[in-house]
Symmetry: C2
């Protein structure tokens, strides 16, 4: 693992690191924020998964999360959203290929050799972060925005032993029933809709459920709300009687201004449960 940069932030350290990923078969870049408390021993750790077109950098610079992570004594991890590089398959569309990994392990050509973001996030990077940083792997939480909200919800429900707390911001809630999902799940996993159901938050909640509580925030004026389908997740949360807090926040859109406006409450939510 190589250090790309480290900056003092809120008494802790915001770092960017690069490593050769076995899961993705390419170099991967990620960011870790360590709060001041990490100097005294392992701290709980919140994983933040980003949305379409993002890298490790967007949330690191625009979510305003580090100050609250310092207040609550949480580390933050910002993975990239896909494998990258000249040898990695890509597509001209912004919502497929590089920058759009959808947090699945692809089985279809040309994606299968590198697009293994589920294994990367939940196994390889989780182990690397636990080995290299003063974080407690028994106290990992996960959240994310948009495609990353989809990733947080589905990875948590598929790997409940890995994550102790869960929230999502404007998640793609029902990709198997949306143009943000059918295209990508079809490309990465093939045409079988029963496979897609294993990577769809609203459907997974009904099939596997979640062992804890879930916090979901969604802006009422989100320009992509018809693609996100929060109503599918709300119905599944209510009908499965899963302990949760689901909010439609009036006036907010899909931007990082929304993420920044609610990130403190998400960090506090995870801190209270880790």
């Amino acid at each position: 693992m190589e250090t790309v940069s480290e900056n003092r932030a809120f008494g802790g350290v915001q770092g960017v690191y690069r490593h050769a990923s076995t899961a993705c078969g390419c170099d991967m870049t990620f960011a870790v924020y360590l709060p001041p408390e990490a100097e005294d021993g392992p701290v709980p750790c919140l994983w933040y998964l980003s949305g379409l077109t993002c890298t490790h950098e967007n949330a690191m610079t625009k979510a305003g999360a580090q100050g609250f992570a310092a207040d609550y004594g949480l580390a933050l991890v910002f993975p990239d959203t896909s494998p990258r590089g000249p040898g990695v398959a890509d597509d001209e569309a912004y919502d497929l290929g590089q920058g759009a990994g959808f947090y699945v392990d692809a089985t279809e050509a040309p994606w299968a050799p590198h697009f293994r973001m589920e294994s990367y996030v939940t196994e390889e990077l989780a182990q690397l972060v636990a080995a290299e940083f003063p974080v407690d792997p028994g106290r990992f939480g996960i959240t994310g925005h948009s495609m990353g909200g989809h990733g947080a919800l589905t990875l948590a429900m598929r790997h409940p032993e890995r994550y102790a707390s869960l929230s999502a911001l404007a998640p793609i809630a029902h990709p198997a029933g949306s143009d943000w999902g059918q295209k990508q799940l079809g490309a990465y996993l093939g045409a079988n809709a029963s496979v897609w159901a294993e990577h769809d938050a609203a459907l997974l909640l009904r099939s596997r459920g979640w062992h804890g509580e879930i916090l979901v925030d969604q802006g009422s004026d989100d320009q992509f709300i018809d693609l996100l389908q929060p109503e599918a997740l709300a119905a599944a949360l209510a009908e499965t009687r899963t302990p949760h807090m689901m909010r439609i926040q009036p006036g907010y859109d899909h931007s990082y201004f929304f993420v920044a406006s609610v990130i403190e409450e998400h960090i506090a939510w995870h801190a209270a449960r880790l």
Copy 2:
């Protein structure tokens, strides 16, 4: 004035606007954050001037200021750092021309026709913001980072009737004695060093002084600290016995991670004095 975008943020509105500037002779873009309190009437307003290479956007997206502005009931204004456009003079260097206006009114060719950032910020944009937004022009404060810290300090001391409170983050403190300043003040204002002294924070503090208190924050590990020369400002503050708080913060560098780490204290500082 034209609205480029408006996003709900922390219960208020983060807007970006464009207008035809008389002072600069080109279209100028700026950002305004209005806190929820602005719905009930005029609020005090903090002007944030940005550094080299920045536009209105950098601090708007990376400083994490809006949440604290909402908490303290302050509006924020983020001007651009120079005139821009194909008809505007420029230089290949990152630190001269577009993106590097240095908050002066240029008198020299080829800069004089457009590079009038002092008049633009202190007069034209101040009047526009006061006319178009629910802010109280009697309660304007000013701050900024790097070149923008230079701008905040020098514009406040040159226009004390305009600004009631003042702070700076990692400011270019003594441009008349630094490679970050001599080149630009020479290009924009000519070779006469006595003219430069009228745009140098450390020198202005000795010649004109400031009617209030000044807060200055500087990172100890700032990679540009030799260009910024905080020691010149510290000496001037102490020797003129100007009420102030000057801090060298251990471990911080010149990045927005430093700005974000201390912005709450700057907003609180201005709120208490506006």
